[in-house]
């Protein structure tokens, strides 16, 4: 098990390195002069030169890259040009908010998507299946930012059921930070009011973000269950009188879930990207919102730092998915 994790971590290193090269290339090489871009439109040549020296742009590229690698290894991404705070500190503060949001929507997508996909497969080509097929295509076709706005229109502005933006109402004191997860922290502090308020704030963003994933998970579960239903062991179990509800929800589902699991790993990248949009609309103080700000203000140290962190999370999620994969399938478990 440990060896498996170690091997996977080692395998992830080349792709992380590639990611570093790509971001470095994009941020430092593609723009004609990053210093000019950073200094702003009204900068004097002296100011530009100062910035160039401060950021080390006057060094040869390979040296800059080596310096950059050393920084990354120490999780030292420098100071944000916009917030004037260390990037790593900003990320540390904001990452839990994004993780809370993505995990919530992943859970939503998984726990709704898998049963929905299974039901559709069991009622293959009948109305539950057809409905789900239409809904799942629609779920992928909908623009998340528009859907978020429509949700705000209906549930926040019109019905006034759920808050419009943010993680917590301004009237409620935030619980002391332990994990950074608002729901967990409020429970740790025994603050029931903060918990329910945070939960209310989480609902609309999580629904918006889960939409695409929900549709994808439902589709892959459906395809997996349909395939499994054709296998011989299903016939055998039926012939031996295993009741159909046990057969479907226990035996067939465990076999089919592998396909959906693989998707969850792939979905994570999409979720992070979706968080960029969702956080912007719901003023969610997470890393996606931060990234958009950084991109808009050409805050290149933030961009580099965020990319590295997202890349690591992405690799970690994929390793985790492989682990779970192995736990589900005993034939793979022996290789762990």
């Amino acid at each position: 098990m440990l060896r498996f994790i170690l091997r996977r971590v080692l395998l992830a290193i080349p792709s992380l390195f590639g990611l570093l090269v790509l971001t470095f290339f994009l941020v430092r090489v593609v723009p004609a002069d990053p210093a000019t871009a950073l200094a702003g439109e009204n900068a004097t040549p002296a100011q530009i030169a100062a910035i160039r020296h401060e950021y080390g742009f006057d060094q040869p590229l390979y040296k800059q890259f080596v310096v950059y690698l050393g920084q990354v290894a120490r999780f030292d991404f420098g100071e944000s040009a916009y917030s004037r705070r260390p990037v790593s500190l900003d990320i540390k503060q904001r990452l839990p908010a994004t993780l809370e949001l993505t995990i919530a929507s992943l859970l939503l997508g998984t726990f709704l998507g898998i049963p929905l996909g299974t039901i559709a497969a069991v009622y293959h080509n009948r109305w539950p299946d057809i409905t789900l097929r239409i809904l799942s295509v629609a779920g992928v076709a909908i623009a998340a930012f528009w859907f978020a706005i429509e949700l705000q229109l209906l549930f926040s502005m019109e019905l006034d059921w759920l808050p419009l933006r943010g993680r917590l109402s301004s009237s409620i004191d935030a619980p002391p930070i332990v994990t950074g997860f608002m729901l967990v922290d409020s429970l740790v502090a025994g603050r029931w009011d903060a918990f329910t308020d945070a939960l209310h704030h989480l609902i609309l963003p999580a629904i918006t973000l889960s939409l695409g994933g929900l549709a994808t998970i439902a589709r892959f579960t459906r395809a997996g269950v349909l395939e499994t239903l054709q296998r011989d062991f299903v016939t055998y179990a039926r012939a031996q009188g295993v009741p159909s509800h046990v057969l479907i929800w226990k035996y067939v589902l465990k076999n089919s879930i592998v396909a959906a699991l693989t998707q969850i790993g792939l979905l994570f990248g999409g979720l992070i990207a979706g968080a960029v949009v969702v956080e912007t609309i719901f003023d969610w103080p997470g890393i996606g919102f931060y990234t958009v700000q950084a991109i808009l203000t050409a805050d290149y140290k933030v961009i580099l730092g965020v990319t590295v962190v997202i890349g690591i999370i992405y690799a970690a999620v994929n390793i985790l998915v492989d682990l779970v994969h192995g736990l589900v399938d005993p034939r793979l478990r022996e290789q762990l």
């Binding site: 016939t235 179990a237 039926r238 031996q240 009188g241 035996y251 465990k254 076999n255």
Partner: protein, 334 residues
């Protein structure tokens, strides 16, 4: 003589496909007396497996029984609902041994989990054993005993293993134990030795034969191999293209086959064939099968009448029935 355990009477079954309706079973008749082993023989695609599925009530979608009855202990299985079949027939009174034990076991659950789940639903608990835990303990003990009986080494440990950790022969022994787990009256074995090598095949056949007497069951043994039938079965029923063509005591049918198809098939068997000739022509498509005898297009004795009307069963010996015009016209044997 008491009523047979399983009595299938003139059953017709069709499947709707994209290209039309296929008549998969056409007047199938089959009788299995208590305590005996009946070999159901035919080439692949002749409807053997469909017949088995019909008995178990697990027909694929699109298949429907048009007429006939499946009497099991004097109860027509075709009249039972899916719930009733699942509850008191499949697994409990009829055990099933599949063709390929490797594909029939779910790879992601332990063997014990799978076999015990069947017992949990169907195995009767002896009086005095109450409570879920006590029942499961009882089932577990019984399963271990059964596994020992089918000669699986370390039966206790085996329950926690996964299907891929067994050899083919062992897997088939597991399936046999599974079929017997709930004290069935009838065991249906669907080509249980086809996926095995010859030595293992022989061991499994011996095991089955001894179990039939020991557990007081009857067995419907589906196969395409006359050699296996000769070793194992008391009676034989031969099918061709969805029709029963001949049935009777194994010795009588093998020694003196009456139907031209049985004769041709036996002649093809490597042990008997002087040359590897095969039967000329091919099996007709069930999509537009001729109204009469389905073997007629390949039969050397066929006349016009054969293709126009279905033949009737004629008795040619004690319990020896033949579904052929030739036998009809022949004077009945004493």
């Amino acid at each position: 003589m008491s009523a047979p355990l399983l009595d299938i009477q003139t059953m017709r079954l069709s499947v709707k496909t994209d290209e039309g309706t296929a008549q998969i079973l056409d007047h199938v008749t089959l009788t299995l007396p208590r305590g005996r082993i009946l070999g159901l023989v035919g080439e692949s695609g002749c409807g053997k497996s469909t017949l088995v599925r019909a008995v178990l009530g697990i027909l694929p979608r699109g298949a429907s029984v048009d007429s006939g009855r499946i009497l099991f202990e004097n109860e027509d299985l075709l009249r039972l609902s899916e719930q009733e079949l699942a509850k008191r027939i499949r697994g409990s009174r009829i055990g099933f041994i599949p063709q390929d034990p490797y594909l029939a076991l779910n790879p992601v659950f332990t063997v014990g989990d799978q076999l015990l789940s069947v017992m949990r639903w169907h195995a009767p608990a002896p009086p005095g054993v109450t409570g879920k835990r006590a029942r499961m303990r009882h089932h577990r003990a019984r399963l271990v005993e059964l596994l020992r009986r089918v000669q699986i080494p370390e039966p206790e440990a085996v329950l926690d293993r996964y299907p891929h950790q067994f050899s083919g022969g062992q897997r088939q022994r597991l399936m046999i134990a599974g079929a017997l787990a709930c004290n069935p009256r009838l065991v249906i074995a669907d080509e249980p030795t086809t996926a095995l090598d010859v030595t293992t095949q022989l061991q499994i056949l011996k095991l089955l034969k001894s179990l039939v007497a020991e557990f007081d069951i009857s067995m419907l043994f589906v196969t395409h191999d006359f050699g296996v039938v000769a070793q194992l079965c008391d009676d034989i029923t031969v099918m061709y293209a969805g029709q029963t063509v001949e049935s009777g005591p194994t010795a009588a049918v093998l020694a003196d086959p009456q139907h031209p198809y049985t004769q041709a098939l036996l002649a093809c068997h490597p042990d008997r064939a002087q040359s590897l000739l095969g039967i000329p022509g091919r099996v007709p498509s069930p999509l537009n099968a001729p109204p009469g005898c389905r073997y007629a297009p390949r039969c050397p004795h066929a006349i016009d009448e054969c293709t126009r009307r279905a033949p009737h069963f004629a008795q040619t010996g004690a319990g020896h029935l033949v579904n052929c015009r030739l036998a009809e016209t022949r004077p009945e044997a004493a």
